[in-house]
């Protein structure tokens, strides 16, 4: 409770700025008589969203499913892969250049291909989310597993510990901060990937809904869906950040906020 109050206190400036923006938007649209299909007032967006909430929620769940499943698949595949690449020279020499090259390919451009290969269902969306989240996690994972202080390794060798212990007690915790950086980038991309995949071909999901409202010029609902999508993306991102805070409370990225909370 106290933490929440502290958070509210810290974020009050951002809150007022945001409220101010909405008020100016609302006032301007009404005074200048801007057509609703161009720019609806925020109050109308809120009312429309409230009225059609059940329908939006159904589609949001579809998209949310794609995001979570694709992201988890990326995590499960990319972290072990990063480990293998970091610790095996031959694998690194053969696989890493391929990964670097594939990373340059605009992955969203592959979405139509996935439709040809896997149809209109869940699979192509899952794969596109996977593909977009995958690269940042692998690349940061490799960097994390590779960054090691040689003195720490010498110290470990002088204890006579075996490789497994060295991995669990040194290499893994050491790699975690960079892995989490990759996870957060991947999480942020996951929502984008799901919507793009739905744009290409689908009969459900927020991307589909967005296209439908757009073609009917129901602009208030377009805004509403964009808001729901943003919230969805934010939820995934903060879920990862919460896990990060629990997993590596000692890291610099978490220290700053902890100290900030202490002083305010």
């Amino acid at each position: 409770m106290r933490k929440t109050m502290a958070w509210l206190k810290r974020s009050r400036h951002a809150f007022f700025a945001f409220a101010g923006l909405l008020i100016v938007w609302e006032a301007w649209v009404r005074i200048a008589d801007v057509p609703v299909y161009l720019l609806p007032p925020p109050s109308m967006v809120a009312v429309d969203l409230f009225e059609r909430w059940p329908r939006v929620l159904d589609h949001a769940l579809v998209t949310g499913n794609e995001i979570v499943a694709g992201f988890l698949l990326a995590v499960v595949v990319s972290i072990p892969l990063a480990m293998i690449i970091a610790y095996s020279r031959p694998v690194e020499r053969s696989l890493y250049p391929v990964i670097v090259f594939l990373q340059i390919v605009p992955k969203i451009a592959i979405a139509p291909l996935f439709i040809i290969w896997f149809g209109f269902g869940f699979t192509p969306k899952l794969l596109l989310v996977f593909l977009l989240s995958f690269f940042p996690i692998v690349v940061s994972g490799i960097a994390g597993f590779k960054s090691l202080d040689p003195d720490v390794m010498d110290l470990a060798r002088s204890t006579g510990a075996n490789g497994l212990k060295m991995f669990l007690r040194i290499r893994l915790p050491q790699a975690l901060p960079q892995i989490f950086t990759g996870l957060k980038v991947g999480a942020a991309l996951a929502a984008t990937a799901a919507v793009v995949a739905e744009f290409v071909a689908s009969d459900s999901g927020l991307g589909y809904l967005l296209l439908e409202y757009n073609s009917n010029l129901e602009t208030p609902m377009v805004f509403a869906v964009i808001i729901v999508l943003s919230v969805l993306g934010l939820l995934v991102y903060y879920a990862v950040e919460l896990i990060e805070r629990l997993a590596i409370p000692w890291h610099v990225s978490n220290r700053a906020t902890a100290e900030e909370a202490r002083t305010t």
């Binding site: 204890t159 006579g160 510990a161 050491q174 610099v252």
Partner: protein, 293 residues
Amino acid sequence: MAELRLAASRDDAAPEVSGAASAGPVSIAVRNVSKVFARDGQETVALDGVDLDIREGEFLAVVGPSGCGKSTLMRLIGGLDMPTRGEVTIGGAAITAPVTDLGIVFQKPVLLEWRTVLENVMFQIDMRGEKRRDHLDSARQLLAAVGLADFENRYPHELSGGMQQRASIARALIHEPPLLLMDEPFGALDALTREQMRLDLEELWLSTRKTVIFITHSIDEAVLLADRVVVMTPRPGRVDRILDIPLERPRGLEGRKTPEFLAAVDEITELFLANGTLHASRPVLNLLNKKEP
């Protein structure tokens, strides 16, 4: 900075000690050891024909310029690296793998940032697969001995450089190794902290009497701490001379004032002048001086 007071007081330690006389039989032998590093087709001779006997329970300092191979020598003794020629033996057996019966202190504290001070000390125990509860008490005692009693639950980033290095010394001692390797352990500390650490290390050594190999490039530090000082030449590193330091212990703050200290520092300085590590006056400086009429 917390003050360090060890179990063994000065009075306890004073009578039984007198310089190098306390050193026991040879326990580590470095025999005609050379180490060559090859990189990009270029060979660098770090050590060239080094012979050295280290006696049990002695405090041996190795002093020399940067790049003279002193750290390499320490790594060879710890089995972290293998010599190109020659061999290093411990208790008569040649070293072929990392030696586990020792503690190492590096120039950097090398603490794990995700472990508290106490857990960093216990890291040694965890890695060795020993029972934690057998060592928790002694870990706390060691932390108290190095002045960190109130900091066991702090993380390394919350400590000053000197305190971090104290924690790393505690970690090097928790498993009670007979041998302590210290590679410029005070090199990254400010001068005052360094002086305090030097005093504390002497007391710690007097109370434990471990074999210590102490790498440094401070002549003062070497003379004030060691029973014997190994003077190295610039690259390729060779043993220039080994000096006995007959100073009474504990040397503490008074050690600096004794004629023996001054004589030893003088002798080492002369050696560094002779082997080219130090130059009394550089030609360039002479030129600068002559510019002004």
